[in-house]
Amino acid sequence: MLRAGDRASTRTLLRVAVVTAIVAAAAILAAVVALGLGEMRVSAVDVVRALISDAGAAVETVVVQWRLPRVLLGLVFGLALGLSGAIFQSLTRNPLGSPDVIGFDSGAYTGAVLSIIAVGGTALVIPSALAGGIATALAVYLLAYRRGVHGFRLIVVGIAITALLGSVNTYLLLKAELWQAQMAAIWGAGSLNGLDWSDARNGVAVVGVLLVPLLWLGRRLRMLELGDDAAAALGVRVEPVRLALVVVGVALSAVVTALAGPITFVALVAPQLARRITRAPGVQLVPSAATGALLLVTCDAFALNVPPQALPVGLITVVLGGAYLVWLLIVQSRKEMR
């Protein structure tokens, strides 16, 4: 019985590793399938051949030049959103604490709409959206700050700011010219449509860079889950670590929003799904990343190929997220009734 302890601990680790590997494999499989879908159908075998060796010029152009950047971004953005959601849910200790819920996406949208109206085009959408999103996140963080930031206050302030920005956004769209409003609406739906290799290179590079600090922050995030005092007593410098995590979490969301518009709900759903399938304690970063990648690649393949075609993937994830929220509420209320 004395040995049960360590075996139990290793067992959790092993289960998380195996489940994560399965989810990651499923995400890659979905990516391969997605690469074959479209007007020109390509078999999975030919997709793999095009990726690693040679499958003829036509197939290579379609798979590698046209489809791969989009699918790659689906994987990488899904991963980024899964991580971002996991960070925020862990920090706020709340399954609703994701960057879209605490105001980042509506702030980015406000920035984008303002720039479309001011410039009369989409030239400055990326920097404006980033500025809007980051300024909102910062405002929420500061407004929620009182001798350190506590999760619940962060969410409540975030929801209030989101509602406020929602009305600002509506007002801006009503005041804008019709074509400007249309442009803003298209951006606001969140889509991987039209992203090419230069976008893919940028997106992958930025997400890659953001993963580096997470190697260091990940273990500290786990300790913060024990409460600030326990974490501090165990040697974590709570406030700087939390601020760094907020910055990385916002940046991971920001890069997705900048290139694709706000793709909501992946950050909200992925960590919770990951938690349920791994049955691991707390919020898990790597499984959330894998789940986010699988979700976004699958949703985007649906958006692109199920009629009516070429829907923005943001629409699909919103539907998915809505269903998830209803389910969460039902489960939660059942638990409370017991």
């Binding site: 959790t12 190697l215 005092d229």
Partner: protein
């Protein structure tokens, strides 16, 4: 290993809690900090464990400024059981205890045989070995507190700081836990605990620190500190102190309304 506070003033922004306190914790002692609610005893413990920075004065661990030591280095020598801690959803007892090994780990040295041995030892010392696979959420209050103590023990620190470790537990579980602390103290660990029950403090501690309104009113061995006069002053509570028939330590008997009742 000594822990020493000299001339510390501390508090939160506009509200000073304690002023100009001096306290020296002798190695191997069992110190109980007692006092009425809001006298600053828990805040003093936070200062001693470097969770709260004093506005004036300094806390020294083995003669070195605790504030300028790397946080993980401190965590290898000084463990704290906070008043409020949160178990992550769905965590098992053994996984929680294992998190106490954090200060001994690094990105390169994740889980070692020493970690495994420390977790095993901590769970054995607190009688939680059989709870290893259970979910912390589903444990009883007493079991849960013992698991948290095991987590602090897994840290393998010479100093143990305990913030009201027995609050919310029934009397049997209180004694069970205090016995565990006494055992750890016997093995050479220095224990500093904020305690509510004066009689328990008198029984288990070798040194009592009585606080009132942010200052240390009296300190010393239980026989010297737990007197009718001190208790009356510190707690505003008229009482009688008699020798505890079990342990011989001071036993506080509050007078309350009992004295006015006709015989």
């Amino acid at each position: 290993m000594t822990l020493e506070a000299s001339g510390v003033t501390f508090g939160y922004r506009d509200r000073p809690v304690g002023t100009d306190l001096d306290l020296r914790i002798a190695p191997g002692s069992f110190t109980a900090i007692v006092g009425p609610n809001a006298c600053g005893k828990s805040t003093l413990l936070r200062v001693l464990s470097r969770l709260l920075k004093p506005t004036e004065g300094s806390v020294l661990l083995d003669g070195k400024l605790i504030a300028s030591m790397p946080s993980k280095q401190v965590a290898k020598r000084l463990g704290l059981l906070p008043q409020t801690s949160i178990a992550p959803d769905g965590i098992t007892a053994v996984d929680l205890v294992a998190r106490g090994r954090y200060p001994h780990q690094s990105a390169l040295r994740q889980w070692s045989r020493a970690d495994e041995a420390a977790v095993k030892e901590a769970m054995a010392a607190t009688g939680t070995t059989d709870l290893a696979d259970r979910l912390v959420d589903e444990l009883s209050g007493g079991q849960r507190q013992r698991v948290w103590v095991a987590m602090v023990l897994a840290q393998q620190t010479e100093l143990l700081l305990l913030d009201e470790p027995t609050t919310f537990l029934d009397i049997a579980h209180q004694i069970e836990l205090l016995d565990i602390f006494a055992g750890l103290n016997d093995q050479g660990r220095t224990v500093i605990a904020v305690l509510h029950d004066l009689n328990q403090a008198a029984r288990y501690a070798s040194h009592i620190v009585a606080m009132r309104e942010g200052a240390i009113y009296a300190e010393g061995p239980p026989e010297d500190v737990i007197t009718a006069e001190t208790v009356a002053h510190v707690f505003d509570l008229p009482c009688k102190v008699v020798p505890d028939p079990v342990s011989g330590t001071p036993l506080v008997l509050p007078l309350g309304r009992a004295q006015r009742r006709p015989a």
